[in-house]
Symmetry: C2
C-alpha cells in the first residue's frame, strides 16, 4: 500500500539491490567485481595537496573541467565529448532520462540477461522496454535489436555473463538504430576488450559509458563518465544541471584525474587481473565447472558437481563471498570476481574441498 505522503507509484518501484558490502575485512570478497589491487599511488598523492582544505571550503568546479580534459586527452577526444558523473550509475540514470523517454510505442532495448539496474531506471522514469533473449551460449544476437525503439543499452562485456561483443557487432547495432542512442556500457572494457570509443567520430548515436570502479580500483570514489559527440554530452549536461549542479566533489575530481593519467598502473594491473582470470578459468574447468568465456574481471561459472546455491552457501561458511543470482538461466551459475592470486587459490581450494565432501556424501 502506498504511503499517503509518497508520490503515487513510489511504492511500486523495485529498487536495485547491490551486492553485499559486509563490514570488516575477514571475508575474501569476490562478489562485487572490485579490483583486488590498491589504486594508483598517484591518485592517493592528490590527497596531500596543501590547497585541499581551501578547495573543500568552496564549491567544486561544476563542470569538472580538468578531469574532463584529462579523460579527453587519454581518449583522443575533445573535452566537449566527455561527461562525468557520480559513478557510472548516475551517468546511466541521466542517460535513461535524457535519451530513452519516448513513450509507449518505442521501448528501450537491452539484453534479457544484463546489468540489473537497467529495468530499475526504466521504472524510475516510466520507460517501456523489450529484452531480446540471449543465445544458448549467452552471446547477444544483434539482429534482435531492430525495429521501433527508444534506443539500445548493453554492457560490453555483458554482465553478469562476461561475454564480449566484437566491434563489428557494435557497429551493426549502431546501424540498426541510426536515429536512436546506442549506449555501450564499458564498465569492464579494460580487461581485454576493445572500446567502441574509437567509433564516436563516425556515429552520432554512440554513447560509451565507463567507470573507475573496476579498472582503476576506485569503486569507493564514485566516478563514471560518458563519451560521445557533443550533442549527446550536451543532452546529459541539461539533465545533470537540472538535477545537481555539482555532482563531483573536489577530492574526486583531483583523484580521478591523477588515476586516469597513471597509464602505467592501469597497464600493469589489468595484465595481472587478466592472467589470473585465465588461470582460474582453466582450474575451474579442471574442477568440472562450465566457464563462460569472459573478457571482464569476473567469471560466470556453473559447477556441475554441486548446486550453485549450495556451493555459494558453503563458500560463505568458509568466509568466501561470491555472487549468486536466483534468476532464470542464472540460478545454476556463480559469478566470481577475480581477486589476487592467493584469494583465488583459497577459492579453488575451498571448491575442491566442498566438492570432495559433496562427492563423499553422495557415495556414503
Amino acid at each position: 500500500m502506498n504511503n499517503p505522503f509518497w508520490s503515487p507509484a513510489l511504492a511500486e518501484l523495485e529498487p536495485y539491490v547491490p551486492g553485499e558490502q559486509p563490514r570488516g575485512n575477514r571475508l575474501i570478497k569476490l562478489n562485487t567485481n572490485e579490483n583486488p589491487y590498491p589504486p594508483s599511488t598517484r591518485a592517493m598523492e592528490a590527497l596531500a595537496d596543501p590547497q585541499l582544505a581551501d578547495a573543500l571550503r568552496r564549491y567544486p568546479d561544476p563542470e569538472s573541467t580538468e578531469l574532463c580534459a584529462t579523460i579527453a586527452a587519454q581518449e583522443g577526444l575533445a573535452p566537449e565529448q566527455v561527461f562525468v558523473g557520480n559513478g557510472s550509475d548516475e551517468v546511466l540514470a541521466h542517460t535513461f532520462y535524457s535519451f530513452f523517454r519516448r513513450g509507449a510505442d518505442e521501448p528501450l532495448l537491452y539484453p534479457e540477461i544484463t546489468y540489473s539496474f537497467y529495468p530499475v531506471y526504466c521504472q524510475l522514469y516510466g520507460i517501456p522496454h523489450r529484452s531480446p533473449a540471449l543465445r544458448e551460449d549467452f552471446s547477444i544476437a544483434v539482429e534482435d535489436y531492430a525495429g521501433p525503439a527508444a534506443g539500445v543499452i548493453l554492457p560490453n562485456p555483458n554482465a553478469p555473463t562476461g561475454r564480449y561483443l566484437a566491434l563489428e557487432q557494435i557497429e551493426r547495432l549502431l546501424e540498426l538504430q541510426p536515429e536512436r542512442v546506442v549506449a555501450v556500457d564499458e564498465a569492464y572494457i579494460e580487461f581485454g576488450g576493445e572500446s567502441a570509443a574509437g567509433l564516436i567520430g563516425r556515429y552520432p548515436n554512440l554513447l560509451v559509458i565507463r567507470t573507475l570502479s573496476k579498472s582503476h580500483a576506485l569503486a569507493g570514489l564514485r566516478l563514471g563518465y560518458a563519451l560521445g559527440q557533443p550533442h549527446l554530452v550536451e543532452g546529459l549536461q541539461r539533465t545533470k544541471n537540472s538535477f545537481n549542479s555539482y555532482p563531483i566533489d573536489s577530492i574526486a575530481q583531483r583523484m580521478a584525474a591523477a588515476a586516469i593519467a597513471d597509464t602505467a598502473w592501469l597497464r600493469d594491473t589489468r595484465e595481472r587481473v587478466i592472467a589470473t582470470r585465465e588461470r582460474v578459468a582453466r582450474e575451474l574447468e579442471a574442477l568440472d565447472f562450465e566457464v563462460v568465456p569472459s573478457m571482464a574481471n569476473f567469471l560466470l561459472a556453473r559447477p556441475r558437481a554441486i548446486g550453485a546455491e549450495s556451493l555459494y552457501l558453503q563458500l560463505r561458511e568458509r568466509q568466501i563471498l561470491v555472487r549468486y543470482f536466483n534468476k532464470p538461466r542464472l540460478s545454476d551459475y556463480l559469478r566470481i570476481s577475480i581477486g589476487t592470486d592467493s584469494e583465488m587459490d583459497a577459492l579453488l581450494a575451498a571448491c575442491r574441498e566442498i566438492q570432495g565432501t559433496a562427492d563423499n556424501s553422495q557415495t556414503r
Copy 2:
C-alpha cells in the same frame, strides 16, 4: 529545436545556473555563500587514515551507516530518521520525485522568491507549482499555503532574502497541509535560526533538509541530508536506490562524520560569521543601503545611492564578486556572502569609494 536523439522536452528544460566559480584565487569571492573559514581539522585528519586506499578500492557503504548514526546522535534522532545525499541538491531532487509528483490539480507550493533550483526540479519531473507572493518586506505569509497542493517547500531562512520564519509559523504550515510533505530547506539554519528538527516527532509530514556546504565549510565535499520520520526517509531511499546505490563516496562519508562530530568548530565559526554579518549590516546601512534582516550567512541589500547592477559591475572590476539577480523584485538588490572581517572591510571600502565617485559625478 529538439535534438533528434534527445528525449522529447529535454530541450525545454531550463537548467539551474549556479553562481560563478572563477578559477584562481585573486578574487574576493562573496557570491555563493561559502564559509570563509577553513573546515574542521578533524575532517581533514580523516584523510590520513592508512586504510583509505583499501577503502577506496571497494564500494562504499551504500547506506552510509556510520555517517547517518553520527548525524542522528547529533540531532537526538534515530538513524532511520536520517537520509544522506550527494549535496542537498541531490536530496532536494529525490524529495521532489518522492513526494511532490501528484498531478495537475495539486501544485507544489513554494515562495515567489526562493532558491531558484525549485522550479528546475519541477520541470525535470513535470510537477505543477504555485508561488505565493512574499510580503513587501520579503517575509512569507504562511496563510497563502493552504488548499489543494502536492506539498510545500521553502528554505528557512529563505534565500536569497535571508529572512527567517519563526517555528510557530513553520508549525502553522505543517497544520495547513497535514496530508502533504512540508520540506524545510535549512541550508542556512546554523547562522542564528532555530531548526524545525525538534518538531519531527510530532509531525509525520515534516522533512528537514540540511547541507554541510555553508555551516561546515565543506561546499567542495558535497554532503547534504534530510531528517524526518522513518516513512519519509524510506520514501527517499526508494528513489535513491532506483537512481544510484552509492551516492556518497568513502572519503565523504568519513570526512562528513568527523566534521559533524566537531561541534566546537561549528559553534566558534558560526559565532564569527554572525558577528561579522551584524557589523556589516550596520555599516552598509550607514552607507545608505537598505539591508533586509538576515539569519543567514549573506545579506540582501539595496544600495540607494547607485544602481545595484552598476555597483555589482564596479565591485567586479575591483576583484570583488557578489551576486546580482536580474529578476523582478530583486534587481535593485545585491546578495553579499559574509566573508572574513578583512574581506568585508575591503567590500565596504570599495562601496565607499564607488559611491563617492558616483556622488561626485552627480554633483559635477
